[in-house]
Symmetry: C2
Subunit: 110 residues, 2 copies
Amino acid sequence: MGITKTTGFTQVQNKNALLFKALGHPARIAIIDHILSVKTCICSDLVDILPLSQATISQHLRELKEAGIIQGTIEGNSICYCLNTELMLEIKQIIDTYILLNRSNQTPCC
Amino acid sequence: MGITKTTGFTQVQNKNALLFKALGHPARIAIIDHILSVKTCICSDLVDILPLSQATISQHLRELKEAGIIQGTIEGNSICYCLNTELMLEIKQIIDTYILLNRSNQTPCC
DNA sequence: AAAAATTATCGTAATATTGCGATATAACTT
DNA sequence: AAGTTATATCGCAATATTACGATAATTTTT
């Protein structure tokens, strides 16, 4: 069917899945890496850096933006994208909680 | 085209994207949640818990296993799945590095 | 040995994702 | 105003993902 079932899962489960899904593509990881490497927001050197067309990059930027992972503000004729620090911390929280719960498991059975 | 381009990205970027992709589905998040909640590995109460068929659950388990996120060992006529602690720590490391790099960014520009 | 239980796999249908060229939009530059 | 630059969107084709019923494979139970 191709459609992801969301009923029957908790809101948090659905929300977290969407976050991770947004991170689940090398182009989107590369965009994040680039933002972090230039230590400021980016305009669009991305087109010169990624092995993808402008249209495709724009699409990936939109997905990251819709997931809340990056924010973009219009800056004259270009757009200034940078990481949403709060959301990154949220993701960290999810993983940290997993690690913590896992640590409290009784036996490493497998 | 539907096919994800991997050439032109680093190996690490591709690898990390695959990890996050594996986490990017509510059923797979729910599976992880359940393993953590029962504090031990699971056999297959999953069929009674998730709103999905046995076939579909088996598919999601395989994806988690292929990504290295869970491990399964055959245990008589059922299978014992549990989290791969090492891989969870790897994921934590990825996120922690992101947070760290982001923190060292000069100006919160956007 | 037959039946039951547990899990994986196959085949298939529906939908989503990816990628790109072409085009649109908007703002700057001259 | 015309051209240039930066970004978004549309439309499309190719491939991937999701979900499930049916079936296979394996082990346990009876």
